[in-house]
Amino acid sequence: MAGSNNAPHRDMMRSPLGRARGLGAAKVGATHWWAQRLTAVALVPLTLWFVCGVIRMHGAVQHDMVAWLSQPVPLVLMLALIVATFHHLQLGLQVVIEDYVHAEGCKLASILALKAACVLLALACIISVLKLGL
């Protein structure tokens, strides 16, 4: 609170209702931006772990994959990696589409196609990992 200082400041430039809503033109506020940062932070350790995993699976046969993903920790981390990766991917590529595709219909169609592809690929990965690990 500003306390006794009643000088105009930035917070007072918007109405309380405007500040409470604060959702902008896209009506989702900072959700997209925040989700992109959150998944980025999650992917920092997960990506390093995954690169180590891929190196360990160099020259592996299917049985090695089963042995690796049957352990609880790799199974959980792999599922977390898949969810974070595809979520981060669709958030990032959505911005690329929004920046370069200007025709409204084409933009909407591209974004929906992107989201559908990411969801389907993520599901395929999750089911594959569960089939190997469970």
């Binding site: 940062r37 690169v51 360990r56 299917q62 991917l89 690929l121 089939k131 190997l132």
Partner: protein, 143 residues
């Protein structure tokens, strides 16, 4: 004046004479500061990683499908073209990783002074090379 665009470019100079306004230079003639190159490369590597994700998806689906299909996938990854793709994937991944960390750091409002900005950019380039080459040395030596 040939069209509206020309009309908008007409102005008067300090002597009151009608002149044609100069155009700002097109993007192609600008020099490439390191910060600009990194920013463009961050987006480009993100798109490349989208393709890399398809590779991961194929790898996991093949493993879940059968021994033979996984052997096919592994054989492809070990082929010269497969290795080239994997090298591109690790380079894009580590670049996006380091550049992304720089962006997260800048999201806290730090590192915007020109000197710091350029220094962190070069650190990203160096870290990417070290991580990519290091990963491949480890993979080829112990993998």
């Amino acid at each position: 004046m040939r069209d509206v665009r020309d009309a908008l470019m007409v102005a008067r100079n300090t002597d009151g004479k009608l002149v044609r306004r100069p155009l700002s230079p097109h993007i192609q003639v600008h020099r490439w500061p390191i910060s600009m190159a990194l920013s463009i490369l961050h987006r480009a590597s993100g798109c490349a990683l989208g393709v890399g994700t398809l590779l991961m998806t194929w790898w996991l689906i093949a493993a879940a499908q059968s021994e033979e299909s996984f052997a096919t996938a592994q054989k492809f990854m070990g082929s010269p073209f497969g290795r080239l793709l994997l090298f591109g994937w690790t380079a894009a991944l580590f670049y996006h990783f380091c550049s992304g960390l720089r962006h997260l750091w800048m999201d806290t409002g730090r590192g915007f002074e020109k000197a710091e900005y350029d220094r962190s950019a070069w650190i990203v380039v160096g870290a990417t090379v070290v991580l990519t080459v290091g990963t491949w040395i480890i993979a080829l030596a112990f993998g």
